[in-house]
């Protein structure tokens, strides 16, 4: 390894990349993502759909039509099974279940218990407003002297803080997308060295294959940083724990670079390499897309390494997480990075020697 060679190749690659129209276009992805960011809604939806279960067809509980008010939409269930299923599948912000003996208890002056089911990602503010709504309803029923007990139950694993405007939710996706695009830059730079035959000329100078590989990595990380930082600045999202955020960005950039090195070793054909890159790139940006479909079962996505990257970015940017909150994600990403890097360097060294 020679510092002067690494410097020379890095400089050359940076210039060569800037002369590749597609790579330059990639630099503007940051601008495109920023525009998309501002198009997405900045506030959480204000109307809540609530499921109401009344198995005993209460006479005292007011009819749905009288209960509906601004911002709250009620769907009535008479089957307990259907109600449970609907609430669990997450079609509703909350479920309100009246006890079987609601009328009789109320009439006998006892305290009926109404159970409220909330999905775990429902923010505190929504919860309070639903509870307040029940309160109002009961006041309506009991004319101010309500002897009712409200019990709140949370459904699903704790994902507090996930109920965030779509705009902010999309940010991790854009970052992951931008980082993974660098796979393409790296693999293109490598495939070009083979396709143009320039690699052979470089290797009969003091430069070694490692110098070439390291330089490509530096250029890739540099380009990632430009795109990612431009997204953060354009969306005014430079926030949270910055050292941890940049550690995440760095780990993501390494993943893209390692994948790029590996994919670049697969072919000597420039156009062919685009296909080799496209498929893994689509898979790797997939986890970010699940942000837009929040209630899909996530377990399958968890085998895709970028899931942890998207998750960590979300935690850092939108939930104020620090290293304590994301170290597990980072560890998993670092693991993937190591595997991909070793694989990429091995494949390339074989290719170049």
């Amino acid at each position: 390894m020679k510092a002067s060679c690494i410097k020379a190749i890095t400089r050359k690659d940076a210039v060569a990349a800037m002369r590749n129209k597609l790579i330059v276009l990639g630099l503007f992805a940051g601008v495109i993502f920023a525009v998309m960011y501002y198009v997405l809604p900045s506030t959480v939806e204000e109307t809540f759909t609530v499921a109401l279960y009344d198995g005993s067809s209460s006479q005292l509980f007011p009819p749905v039509s009288e209960l509906e008010m601004e911002g709250i939409h009620i769907i009535f269930f008479t089957s307990g099974e259907e109600f449970e299923k609907a609430v669990e599948e997450g079609d509703y912000v909350a479920g309100i279940a009246l006890p079987e003996n609601f009328d009789s208890q109320l009439l006998s002056g006892k305290q009926p218990t109404i159970t409220l089911y909330f999905k775990s990602d429902v923010p505190e503010s929504v919860r309070t407003s639903i509870e307040y709504f029940i309160q109002l309803t009961i006041e309506y029923v009991a004319l101010g002297e309500q002897p009712i007990d409200i019990e709140t139950e949370m459904l699903g694993e704790d994902m507090a803080g996930k109920h965030i405007p779509l705009r902010e939710q999309s940010l991790p996706f854009f970052l992951v997308f931008a980082l993974m695009m660098e796979m393409w830059t790296i693999s293109t730079l490598i495939v070009e060295e083979s396709a143009f035959g320039t690699m052979r000329a470089v290797l009969v100078t003091p430069a070694s294959p490692s110098d070439v590989i390291i330089s490509k990595g530096i250029v890739g990380i540099g380009y990632s940083l430009i795109v990612v930082v431009s997204i953060l600045i354009l969306t005014q999202s430079v926030r949270g724990n910055l050292p941890v955020l940049f550690l995440g960005i760095f780990l993501g950039a390494i993943m893209a670079v390692s994948m790029g090195l590996f994919l670049g070793s697969l072919t000597k054909d420039i156009l062919g390499s685009y296909i080799y890159v496209a498929v893994p790139m689509l898979i790797l940006i997939l986890p970010g897309m699940f942000i837009f479909v929040p209630d899909i079962s996530l377990s399958i996505v968890k085998v895709i390494p970028t899931y942890y990257l998207a998750n960590a970015f979300g935690q850092i940017l939108n939930s104020g997480a620090g290293l304590v909150g994301v170290w597990k994600d980072f560890l998993i990403i670092a693991g993937f990075d190591t595997v991909f890097f070793v694989l990429g360097v091995y494949a390339l060294r074989r290719r170049f020697s």
Binding site: K2, S4, C5, K7, A8, I9, R11, K12, V15, A16, R19, N20, F196, G197, T198, R200, A201, V202, L203, V204, T205, P206, A207, S208
Partner: protein, 290 residues
């Protein structure tokens, strides 16, 4: 003839390489001394480029060994790379970079600070220095390739058909540079299938055919030993001119020449040198250029 006490800059013994079933280079042994130009002459597919690749550390010999500047080509290629220049057979420049950027990149790889302008002037490239390589003609690109191989002022030059595709003036410019480098004590390994070039530049010529060296000597010796020098006699007759070619070393020739001189009206007489092409034909039954 080269003296045998010169420093051996390139040395090989039983150097061998095959691509799968194709035996490209077949147990070749030779050496090149300091300040010598060795012409490696052979038809397409003879194994010239494969030999260059082994000597420059691009391919590892499968049998035998090679040394350049005293370093084993398989063991210490990086030590060799510091001090050699390679002009590749196929053009391999960065198309989107300019001539200057291409050359400066290689200057930087060697960690040098070289003014490339004089070199560019020598091959008449100054006009195109800021043009992107992708916009240059093949001949201009070939000149850039040649300049690149000289960028580190190498002790040994490996030139794989350096004048191919060049107009005669550019080709001569490059040949003159090669001769100048030789005078400076540089060693040159030159592959070509241009026998004129080999004849003009080489101190010694190696004929390579089907992976084997079939002859290795100075061009003069090759021609003297293996070629036929002839006497060409042109005579005036009633119908115009008539020509007769007599082999110089034939015992019958003096007699016949005398006859012709006495009886016929001679227009011109001259001796004709054998060409390397003829010598190669005689040795291998093949033509150099297809």
């Amino acid at each position: 003839m080269m003296t045998t006490d010169g420093e051996k800059i390139i040395e090989t013994e039983n150097l061998t390489y095959s691509y799968g079933d194709t035996l490209a280079v077949d147990h070749i042994s030779f050496s090149v001394e300091k300040g010598e130009i060795l012409g490696f002459l052979g038809p397409n597919g003879a194994g010239k480029t494969t030999t260059v690749k082994m000597l420059t550390g691009q391919l590892v010999p499968q049998e035998g060994w090679g040394k350049v500047l005293g370093f084993d080509v398989a063991q210490e290629p990086k030590k060799i790379h510091e001090k050699i220049g390679v002009c590749f057979e196929e053009k391999n420049l960065y198309p989107r970079l300019t001539v200057k950027e291409n050359l400066e990149f290689f200057v930087n790889l060697f960690g040098l600070e070289v003014d490339i302008d004089p070199l560019l002037k020598r091959v008449d490239l100054s006009k195109w220095v800021n043009d992107r390589v992708e916009t240059l003609s093949k001949g201009l690109q070939q000149r850039v390739m040649f300049v690149r191989s000289m960028i580190n002022d190498p002790d040994v030059l490996f030139l794989d058909e350096p004048t191919v595709g060049l107009d005669p003036i550019s080709a001569d410019a490059i040949r003159n540079i090669i001769l100048t480098e030789k005078k400076k004590g540089k060693t040159v390994f030159l592959t070509t299938h241009n026998m004129m070039e080999a004849d003009k530049l080489s101190d010694r010529v190696a004929f390579i055919n089907e992976g084997k060296i079939v002859a290795l000597d100075t061009p003069e010796n090759l021609k003297l030993k293996l070629g036929k020098r002839t006497l060409k006699v042109k005579m005036r007759t009633e119908k115009g001119f008539e020509e007769e070619t007599l082999p110089l070393r034939d015992p019958e020739t003096p007699k016949r020449a005398k006859e012709l001189l006495e009886k016929r009206n001679i227009a011109t007489i001259h001796t004709q040198e054998a060409t390397l092409e003829e010598v190669f034909m005689k040795l291998t039954g093949r033509k150099l250029e297809q």
